[in-house]
Each structure stands twice: as C-alpha cells, then as structure tokens.
C-alpha cells in the first residue's frame, strides 16, 4: 500500500520535473514544478515529516512558486526560448552529462542503502513538529539566527537592487 502510494507519487514527481524541463512556456514549467513540489510534500508525509509537509506546501508550493509565477507574468517572460540555441553543442553534451550524472548519483545513492530500515515503532515516533521546534531553538539556535540574518540580507538585497527605482 505504502509502496504503491510511493510509486504513484514518484511517478507524479518525475513527470512534473520532466515536464518542467520540457515545457516551452515558463508558466507551464512553473505549474509542473508545483506538481512536483506537491508530490515531494506527499513524500515528506510518507517519511514521517509532517512539519516539513506543511512547510513544503506553504513556503515552496505557496510562496516561492507564486513569486515565480508573479515574476514570469510581470516580465512577460513566458516564452524566451523560441530562438534557436546559440551554443550548438550545449544540448547533446548536457544530455550526455546528465545521463552520466544520473548513473553516478544512483550509484552513490544505492551504495548507502545497505542498512535495513529501522523498526516501525521507533520510526513512527521519532519526529513530530514539537520536537523539531524544540531542536530549532536549542541545539540549532545558531543556524536559526543565521537564517534570520540571511533573510535580512535578502531583504536588503532586494531593496538595494530595485531601489534604484527606474520604471519598468
């Protein structure tokens, strides 16, 4: 049952990703990516990470993707790739490299899967939003603070980069 769910979600995720890659229209790409993110969010549920499920949906699928769509619309940049590719060898080479990378990363990923999955009960218990939050404010206080700063910097950056307010 779980496996089937996984497989279905995986197919959806991969389909979304591939479709994003292939879609000519940036808006379509964004929507396919949204699909993919949703699938991954489901994966998080399967992996006992409900908090991340929520975050994934709100932050990624919600905020970030909206941001993307917004910018695409704003700039009218749905179709920029109509002109032929200037770098002739980029595409075949990229596909080749992608294939190789896939092989290598699969080898790496499977190399690590030697230990059997832990027992069910412990897995079911190991993570809940509360302990996650606790961790964030205790052991991971420092990264948390830093993340805050990064967001601050990003804000400053966005302001700085667009404050030189010329009209679009």
């Amino acid at each position: 049952m779980e496996l089937i769910l996984f497989l279905v979600t995986a197919v959806v995720a991969i389909t979304g990703a591939v479709a994003m890659l292939l879609a000519r229209n940036a808006v379509h790409s964004a929507l396919f990516l949204l699909l993919n993110f949703g699938a991954i969010a489901v994966m998080y549920l399967l992996l006992q990470a409900p908090f991340l499920f929520a975050i994934q949906l709100t932050v990624y699928a919600g905020a970030i993707m909206v941001l993307f769509l917004f910018v695409v619309m704003l700039l009218g940049a749905e179709k920029v790739e109509d002109a032929p590719d200037r770098i002739a060898w980029q595409q075949p080479l990229a596909l080749l490299l992608g294939l190789a990378l896939l092989v290598v990363s699969v080898v790496v990923g499977l190399g690590g899967a030697t230990t059997p999955p832990p027992a069910g009960e412990a897995v079911a218990q190991f993570s809940d939003p509360q302990s996650l939050g606790a961790l964030l404010f205790t052991d991971y206080l420092l990264p948390f603070e830093i993340t805050g700063f990064i967001l601050l910097i990003a804000v400053v950056g966005v302001v700085v980069l667009n404050q030189r307010g010329r009209k679009i």
């Binding site: 200037r86 770098i87 980029q90 080479l93 990229a94 490299l97 190789a100 990378l101 290598v104 990363s105 080898v107 790496v108």
Partner: protein, 642 residues
C-alpha cells in the same frame, strides 16, 4: 749574470714604453728605438762572449722571474734562458734589427705616425727575443703571438689602405690556425711531461721536457684502431704551428699579402726574423721531432713542396716585394726541409744567412721603392742601376747570395742542406730542393734585370738614390751577405760546434761535386733569367703580360697566382665558413634555437587562447564545465572507493 740576459729583451721594451708614453717627436723616436736595439745587440754580444767562456756542456743560463701560472699541478714560470741556439738567434734579431731600425729612420721619414711605428718595431724585437729566449713553451708562445701581433700592427700600419688592413687581419688569423695546433701541442706536452719547461734550471730542480723526451718513447694515444705515437702527435702539432708562422704549405698564403706593410717591416719581420720562428721552434724542440720518423718525413716534404711551390710563384711576380716574399717562403721551405731531414744546424745556418741577405734584399727593394716614389711594379722600373748605384750593388750581392753562388753566404748554407739531403739518402727531397735552387737563381736574375737593367719603362718619376741612413745599413748587410757563410764553412764548422750542446749534431761532409754542379746551375739559371728579361725588356708593358707567358701560357698564370691556393681557400674554407656563420646567425639562431624558445611561449599562448575560448560568456557553458568537474570528482573519488 742573469740580469744581463734579462736586459736583452728589456732594452727594446723600454724603447717601446718610451715611444708609447713619452716620445712624441719623430727624431727622438728613431734614435731611441735604434739605439736601444743596438744596445741590446751589444748586450747580446757580451752575453755570447760570456757563454763562450763557459764549458760547452754548461752553456745555458736559465733565469726565472716569477711564477707565471700556478694552479693545481699546472705551473709555468716566467723564465728565460740563454744558450748557443738562442744566442745566434738573438744576435740575428738584434743585429739585423738594429740595422733595420736605422734604415727605417730614413725610410719612414715624414710619416705622421712614425713614433708609433718605432714603438711597434721595438715591441716586435722584444717579443721576438722572448720567443727565442723563452725557457718554456708558454713563454715562447707569448713571444710567438706577440710577434704575430706586431706583424699585424705593422702590416696594417697604413691601415687606410684596404689591402693593408685586409692583409693584417689575414696574417693574424691564418697564424692563429697554426697557433691552435701549437696550443694543443703545449697541452699534450704538459699532459705527458707535467711541465712546459724546455730545460731545468740547472739547480737540481725538475728537468725540462726536452731533457726527458725518452719518457714518452713508445707511448701511443688515439683510438684503438689507429693509435699514434705521442711524440708524433706532439711534434706534428708543433709542425702545424710552425707552418703558420713560417708560412709553409698549406698556410703560406698570408705572407705575400703581408708585403702591404712598410718595407723595413717586411725585411725584419717577414724575412729575417719572425717567419723563422717556426724553424727556430723545430730546432728548439728537435728532440721531439727526432723522436718521430713520421713527423720528420712530413716536415721534410712540407718544406720541400713549399720551397718548390713558392719558388715557381716567385718567378712570375711583378711586384718587387712579392718576388722576395715568395722567395722567402721558398727559402723557409729549404730550412724546414732541412729540419725534416735532421739537418738542424744547416737549417739554422741557412736561417742566419738568409736573415742577412734577405733583409738586405728587402731593404734594397725598399730603397728602390723609396727612390721611385712608391713604385712596386717592376714593369714600371728598369734601368735603375745608374740612378741608385749603392742600392744596385748591394742588391746584386744579395741576389747572388740568395741564388747560392760562391762565395756568398747563401751558397754555403744552401749547399749544406743539399749535401745533407744527398748524404742521408733523401733523394726526392734533394731533387726538389735542387730544382728550387735553380729557380731561385732564375727569378733573382729576372728581378735584377727588370729593376736595374734596361731603360726606365715608366717615365713618370725621377729615381734617386736613398740617403745614407738607408744605404749604410745596406752596405753593412751586404758585407754580411758576402762573408756570412764564414760562420760555418766546411772544415771549420764553427756554427756546428757552437750549436753542438743544443742540437747534438756532427758536421756534415762537404760535397765538392754537388757544390760545383749547384754553382754552375745557379750561375746558368741566373744568367738565363737576366738574359731573358734584358733582351725582352722592350716587350714588357706596364700592366702587360710576361714575355715567358707566350711559352708557358696558363701555367705562368698559375705561377703568378701561386697555384691558386689563396683563391681556393677563399672559395672553400673562407666562403664556406662565412656561409655557415651566416646561416647560423640569420637562420638557425633566430629561427631554430630562438624559434624553439619562442615556440614555448607561443605554445603557452595557444593554450591560453584555449582557456579563453572556453570562457564563452554563456552561464550555461559554465554550468556545463562545472558538471564535467562534478563527474570527474565524483568519478575519481568513487573509483578510489571501490
């Protein structure tokens, strides 16, 4: 005692220094220069007298001034010596030298650079004295090169003339070829004997190599398939050195050109002294030569061939000095041949007499040139015997001496060589030399006829006799040319005895038949030469061909060009070297060697452009390269992890 022999070279050297740094006026220069050389002559006489006062076997004074080179085992003293052989050479140098100095006062009168001239001349005498007085090969070489330098300076004295400067450089460079062999010989001597000294200092120190020639008896060097005796190697190298300095085949080509210098210089350097350096060298290192049959044969043949070759060349020259120059080469060939046959005393004897009468001839020629306003082409002369009586008479004496006619000096010395050739079975050599001696008489007859007899063919000048300062030396030398043979007359053989401690030679036997035939031949050929050119005097045109040309054709031209050796060298060795050098300098070095270097630079430049080309500006390319890197890093790490 020792200081006395140091005085001999030092006196002219003082003259050199004075003339370079102090004296500015012509008169003083001539006087000082001549006076100091004359003083050196006197000192030499005194030294000879002292030498004569010693027991024959102890007649050698060695004096060391300082350690010249002292590094590792290589030690060479700055040492001179005085022994019978040196003594006769020194007498010749200072004696004839002094006369030529005096003569030069007249000859060079009015030349703007006359002070410098006397400085060079003094330096030459100094160096020549070092050459003959050195007690080791290296110091000898110092003198050897020193005289070469002076020769260069004096040939090129009138450097404005293109021919003079060319001849000067040619003389120096050709000599250098011989010198290279000389240097190798020195190295070999040092390598095998551990010293370059001729003789020990007589005080129980190390013996000189000439006293230890037996050390290398039977030693061989070289590749296994063709080993040669060490003695042969060394003596052969010395022989090459001598061929350079003594203008022997194949290096004789510089001497005729050297006549571009002032005539007294030709007399002193290119007749009487410097060119005999090679003969002296062979005489000095006689034990080495004697130790090698091979070299001796070479020496004899080279000498004989040179004698014949130069003798023929002398026959066809028009330039009064070139005749004498080729004659000198020819006579030097006689001496060298004598050395080759083991007749060292005869060689030295001929060297001495030749020094006197050839100096006389050159000075006479100089007088002629002086009296005819720098005319050297004999076709423009003729009939000078009346205008220049003293010159004429002395010149004829010189010519007779050179032709080898009894009782002039040349007869005795030449006869001794020929006699030795016969008595020691060197028949081919004898034939060549005899033939040459006939030629000698012929060309001297020709020259005397052309210069002094007939009528003056070029009326553009008024010949006049030279001043006494020039003619007096002529007379003195003429006397020498007459009686010079006395020093080694048969039976008396004073010179042989005198040189016995050095050359260890017994006097040869006087061959009456030979003397008679040779004299008859000389007289006949001399007369023939005189006769042809007096009777055909009318046919000689300025710039025209020789009367003999009709009969001999191109052979005569070959003789005139000294069998084209000079041209051959020019076209092969010189041109070849120049072409090679040019190729190296213009093609190989900039494009080959430097091209390689710059190619390295270009190679990196090309790589750099490759790096540049990869930097396309497209961020996707960068990501692509990035991915390549990822694959490599991952791949390598995983490869290791297997």
């Amino acid at each position: 005692m020792e200081w006395l022999i140091w005085l001999i070279p030092l006196l002219p050297f003082i003259g050199f220094l004075l003339n370079v740094f102090v004296i500015r006026r012509e008169r003083e220069a001539g006087l000082v220069a001549s006076g100091l050389v004359a003083a050196a002559f006197v000192v030499t006489l005194i030294a000879v007298a002292m030498l004569a006062g010693m027991p024959p076997e102890e007649r050698r004074i060695v004096s060391t001034a300082w350690e010249w080179i002292n590094t590792g085992s290589f030690r060479v003293p700055f040492a001179i010596m005085f022994d019978p052989l040196t003594a006769v050479m020194a007498l010749l140098i200072t004696g004839v030298g002094a006369l030529i100095h005096v003569y030069s006062i007249g000859y060079m009168h009015g030349d703007p650079r006359v002070v410098r001239y006397f400085a060079y001349l003094n330096l030459f005498v100094t160096m020549m004295l070092f050459l003959v007085m050195a007690n080791n090969l290296l110091l000898l070489f110092l003198g050897w090169e020193g005289v070469g330098l002076c020769s260069f300076l004096l040939i090129g004295f009138w450097f404005e003339r293109k021919s003079a400067s060319a001849a000067a450089v040619k003389a120096f460079v050709v000599n250098r070829i011989g010198d290279a062999a000389f240097i190798l010989a020195m190295l070999a001597v040092f390598a095998y004997f551990g010293t370059l000294n001729f003789y020990g200092d007589g005080e129980g120190g190390q013996l000189g190599f000439l006293e230890r020639v037996s050390d290398i008896a039977g030693l061989r060097i070289g590749p296994d398939w063709q080993p040669i005796f060490v003695s042969t190697a060394i003596s052969f190298l010395l022989l090459i050195g001598a061929t350079g300095k003594s203008a022997q085949f194949p290096l004789f080509v510089w001497l005729p050109d050297a006549m571009a210098g002032p005539t007294p210089v030709s007399a002193l350097i290119h007749a009487a002294t410097m060119v005999t350096g090679g003969v002296y060298l062979m005489a000095r290192t006689e034990p080495l030569f004697v130790a090698s049959f091979t070299t001796q044969a070479w020496v004899a043949w080279i000498g004989a061939l040179t004698a014949l070759l130069a003798g023929t060349a002398a026959m066809a020259q028009w330039d009064i000095k070139r005749v004498l120059a080729y004659s000198t080469v020819s006579q030097l060939g006689f001496m060298v041949a004598a050395c080759g046959m083991g007749a060292y005393v005869a060689a030295i004897f001929h060297l001495l007499t030749h020094g006197i009468f050839k100096a006389l001839l050159f000075l006479g020629a100089g007088s002629v040139i002086h009296g005819t306003h720098d005319t050297q082409d004999m076709r423009r002369m003729g009939g000078l015997k009346d205008a220049m009586p003293t010159t004429f008479r002395t010149y004829v004496i010189g010519a007779l001496a050179l032709a080898g006619i009894v009782p002039f000096a040349g007869f005795w010395s030449k006869d001794e060589i020929l006699a030795h050739a016969i008595s020691h079975g060197h028949t081919p050599i004898f034939i060549i030399l005899f033939l040459t001696s006939l030629l000698t008489a012929f060309y001297m007859g020709r020259q005397v006829a052309l210069v002094f007899f007939g009528t003056q063919r070029d009326p553009s000048y008024h010949p006049h006799e030279s001043p006494p300062v020039m003619t007096v030396p002529l007379v003195v030398l003429a006397v020498g040319a007459v009686i010079g043979g006395a020093i080694n007359l048969p039976v008396l053989h004073w010179l042989t005895d005198w040189l016995e401690p050095v050359l260890h030679e017994k006097a040869g036997e006087f061959n009456l038949w030979l003397a008679l035939i040779a004299t008859a031949g000389a007289v006949g050929m001399g007369y023939l030469g005189w006769w042809i050119y007096t009777t055909n005097a009318a046919k000689i045109k300025i710039g025209g061909k020789d009367p003999a040309y009709r009969y001999s054709g191109d052979i005569w031209e070959g003789m005139e060009e000294a069998w084209y050796f000079d041209r051959l060298y020019q076209r092969t060795v010189v041109a070849g070297f120049e072409r090679l050098a040019d190729f190296l300098a213009r093609v190989f070095d900039p494009q080959g060697v430097d091209g390689l270097v710059m190619g390295v630079g270009r190679f990196f430049g090309g790589l750099a452009n490759g790096v540049r080309a990869l930097q396309t500006g497209y961020v996707r390319t960068y990501a692509l390269v990035f991915t390549v890197g990822v694959l490599i890093v991952l791949g390598v790490m995983l490869w290791f992890a297997r």
